[in-house]
Amino acid sequence: VPSTCDWRKAGTISPVRDQQHCNCCWAIAAAGNIEALWAIKFHQSVEVSVQQLIDCDRCGNGCKGGFVWDAFLTVLNNRGLASEKDYPFDGSGKTHSCRAEKHKKVAWIQDFIILQACEQSIARHLATQGPITVTINMTLLQHYRKGVIKATPTTCDPIQVNHSVLLVGFGKTKSVEGRQGKAASFGSYSRPRHSMAYWTLKNSWGTQWGEKGYFRLHRGSNTCGITKFPVTARVDKPNKQQQVSCPP
């Protein structure tokens, strides 16, 4: 496993989305996963329809929430996903009927898997195969602005996971990087830090939130339950699987 990895540097990560008034983080994470894997494995840049996942989800919950694995099942059942352009996202939260059959499919998957709940295994898969969806406890994200969140089970319950995002990389902070700055009207303070290992995650709340739409969690302590549900699609066939290399 390399010491650092960032799939954004390979130009394989699609733009950050904004779920707006629809509880569809699960669909956006799944779509982001498929888009990244297609870019990495087939060198094809696609933007797939999140709306198709919402409308055609087998459980029919749509904008009321769902599971990443249900999104992948929907992709399999529909024999692929239409493009975002043909089947655009409606963030209003309204219910729509499934229109999957009316559009050409631009991306599909062969299978999906859930990885071992181990950060080392997750890092290895991320670095050699591509981004992975994870589901975390979102409590601390409401007021997050930047930096690496390192929480305890008390401050961020790793059992109560309720938000799906896309894992796109990992790294370590520099030894001298500390927390300096102001939070609203409060005074500034600094705390010298040792190098800290982190995960880089892609959120679905637009680019104004966090670090241009991304955020970082501590790596190595199961912060906010990141290891609970690491799920990823597979886009290449088993006998044709090839390892890829994540940019450092």
Binding site: N23, R145, K146, G147, K150, A151, T155, M196, H218
Partner: protein, 103 residues
Amino acid sequence: GSLRGQDPGPQPLELKEVFRLFQMQYNRSYPNPAEHARRLDIFAQNLANTQRLQEDDLGTAEFGVTQFSDLTEEEFVQLYGNQVAGEALGVSRKVGSEEWGHS
């Protein structure tokens, strides 16, 4: 600390100004003065919470004003969380009973 227990008179200017800037930055508006006052109160409580979050965090994270700063935690989770995941994955239930007999 919380502003709830205080006399509902003029709010500190700094807080009002910060809230106004928040509204401008995130294009937030409220339908009536009562809702505006309620959101200002929530905003003030969230600001206080961010200081606690900052102290509790063991990493390098910075917490502060975001587009969600006028929401209660419950509203935030309901509006932006994965409701189904939170209910189905976070709760463990006993599915059996000690009183069951033979299988």
